[in-house]
Amino acid sequence: MSLGPAATGAVQAGSPHRDRPQTARTARAGGIDLMIRVGAYVAVAVVLGYFSVAAHGFFSLSNVVNVVEQSAILGILAFGMTLVVIAGGMNVVSGGIDLSIAANMGVCAAVFATSINAGVSDPVAVALTLGAGLAIGAVNAFAVIGLGVLPLLATLAVMNVCIGAELVLTQNTVISAASPLISLMSSGTFLGISVYAWFLIVASALFIVLVQYTRWGLRLYAVGAHREAAHAAGLPIAKYQAASYVIAGLCGSLAALLSVARLSGSSPGANDNLLPVIVAALMGVVFSRRMVPTIGGTLLSALFIGFLANGFQLINVSSYWVNGVQGLLILAVVSMTSLTKRAGT
């Protein structure tokens, strides 16, 4: 990760003997940063450009809306994951991560579908669903911050609890659900764009404002990236980190509403989304100026993953390739991030 302007200044103000090599190294690091950042955008542009030429109708409004719809669940889950990573730091072992977020969606979808089937009205069912998601987030927060368990382990345990709870509720079968809200979400449109796609558009806007343009968002970054400094500045680190898990829990339940609308009920297999969510949240880093997780970057990653699957299908390349390409992307991102870190130290 880049040292940032303040840190660079501090180095330059140091010993004159070390001045030149450090500056050169920092400049090189900055150069690599820039290369990666530009490289990421260029790579995306090249891939999308190729699809737009090779695949008929790739950039048509309907296809773009299709991809936005197909990316909505992934995007919203990945926003939750991004918040947790921002607040907990990017260390792979000890940093922030919420492995329960996809399973959370599964159990929340089961709650939504079963409560609708139990004859509960839409608002009450939504409240129950969001409540379940928030509760799961709160359990994560308690385990990580209250008990001090590594996020990786705490959320892994909660993931298992969620998977178990979903199985108990659904008996591992599909639970069909139909209600006015579900029909509105699955087939309603506004300004020619489906309600489903609007969900992602509005959620993206809200999260971008919250994380990138508010004092709360700035402090969230401080808590994750510069823990000691944030502590010294008097920020309540625990509260910020706890909030990130609770909001991630809420994201799980919001995605559950979308999932029920999309699949006409609750269907097993929600946890299959976990790896794509991690990919989207981590890959988003290459789209940020300072190589940190951002909502915009995560959104771009989620859409890029969606466009890849869509584009490959449109040009009739086997869907089996998409998994391989996703794997290569993760490898590229991780290695590029490590490379910059090494160059920057």
Binding site: Q70, I73, V174, S264, S267, D272, Q313, S319
Partner: protein, 341 residues
């Protein structure tokens, strides 16, 4: 084991209330004439798919049956000169929906959908039809499909039961696995077996019937059959064991062999490659199984789509004949199955 297990799970999902209605219709005889007319091997020459794109959407290919039917479709589309857009959803409903959504935008000449969850898929089937794309299905009954190609489970159940009654001389006690009566295909095979037994009063089903389970099917069948054999130690007190699919029979065969009760014969209403190997083994008590022909089913579904696209009419259902495999014919029919055995 996975093939039969997969088949069971998928068929559980695939066959809904809609199927029951279709079954009733088929039973009424309306489909029988159409069935004969649409047998697998009589595709008229010149049913070209040249210049046509056929979308193929399957929920997964991790089971033997699913993979063979999927490959059968792709190969047939290519053979008839068409371009397949083949999509495997990796057993993920959400992925299959996304693939179908994009497929609709691609406007293929027809879409063939194989298995998957009817409750989840139904709204998307409607969208396919609304987009004016003809829909065909493989082993998935839905009123949205122009044709559903599948096996004839009534015939499978009846044929196996007749063979069993014949083999045991129309008398004796039989052990029956009936854990999946909720699965329509198993219910059909079971009911057909009972219908045959009705006319052979000396053949009695030991009560209570056994419950086959998923998972741990083989282990559970082994211990359940061992218990019954212990309770009925006299040779000849049990004549046969019946199950609607192959996997419990694999466990039952092990139990029969372990108890050295070679007089007992085993029957399965569906099978995978492992079951055929048991039949081939002269010392194994498995006497007969019914084998579906998934490759042929996939091929036939494509042929039906081709017929429709060439202006011919197709029946609502096409039943691809199954093959009963016994110790007597196993070598002869192995190749015919198209399983690559």
């Amino acid at each position: 084991m996975s093939d039969a297990k997969g088949l069971k799970i998928e068929q559980t999902k695939a066959i809904s209330l809609v199927t029951k209605a279709a079954i009733a219709l088929a039973l009424s005889g309306g489909v029988i004439a159409a069935t004969t007319a649409a047998r697998a091997d009589d595709v008229p020459a010149g049913l070209s798919l040249k210049g046509k794109t056929i979308g193929i959407s399957v929920v997964g290919t991790d089971h033997f049956w699913d993979l063979k039917a999927y490959q059968g479709q792709i190969a047939e589309v290519k053979r008839l000169g068409g371009t397949p857009v083949a999509l495997d959803a990796g057993r993920k409903d959400a992925k299959q929906i996304a693939q179908i959504q994009t497929l609709i935008a691609q406007k293929p000449d027809a879409i063939i959908e194989q298995l998957g969850n009817v409750k989840v898929l139904d709204p998307w089937f409607k969208k396919i039809r609304t987009a004016g794309i003809p829909l065909f299905t493989v082993d998935t009954a839905t009123p949205q499909a122009i044709n559903d190609t599948t096996s004839n489970n009534w015939e499978m159940g009846e044929e196996l039961a007749v063979q069993m009654v014949q083999d045991i001389g129309a008398k004796g006690n039989i052990i029956v696995f009936n854990g999946f009566y909720s699965v329509p295909v198993c219910a059909i095979r079971y009911d057909e077996m009972r219908a045959v037994l009705k006319y052979y009063p000396d053949v009695k089903i030991i009560q209570p019937e056994l419950r086959d389970v998923i998972p741990n099917t083989v282990q559970s069948a082994y211990s359940e059959v061992t218990d019954i054999l212990t309770k009925n130690p006299k040779k000849g007190s049990i004549a046969a064991i019946w199950a609607c699919w192959g996997v419990p029979i694999e466990g039952a065969a092990q139990a029969v062999q372990a108890a050295k009760r070679d007089e007992i014969k085993l029957y399965a209403g569906d099978s995978g490659p492992d079951d055929i190997k048991l039949i081939e083994d002269k010392n194994n008590p498995v006497a007969a199984v019914i084998a579906q022909r998934p490759t042929e089913i996939g091929k036939t579904a494509v042929d039906n789509a081709a017929r429709h696209l060439n202006g011919q009419s197709v029946p609502s259902f096409t039943f691809v004949p199954t093959i009963m495999v016994t110790k007597a014919n196993v070598q002869e029919v192995k190749d015919k199955l198209g399983w690559g055995l």
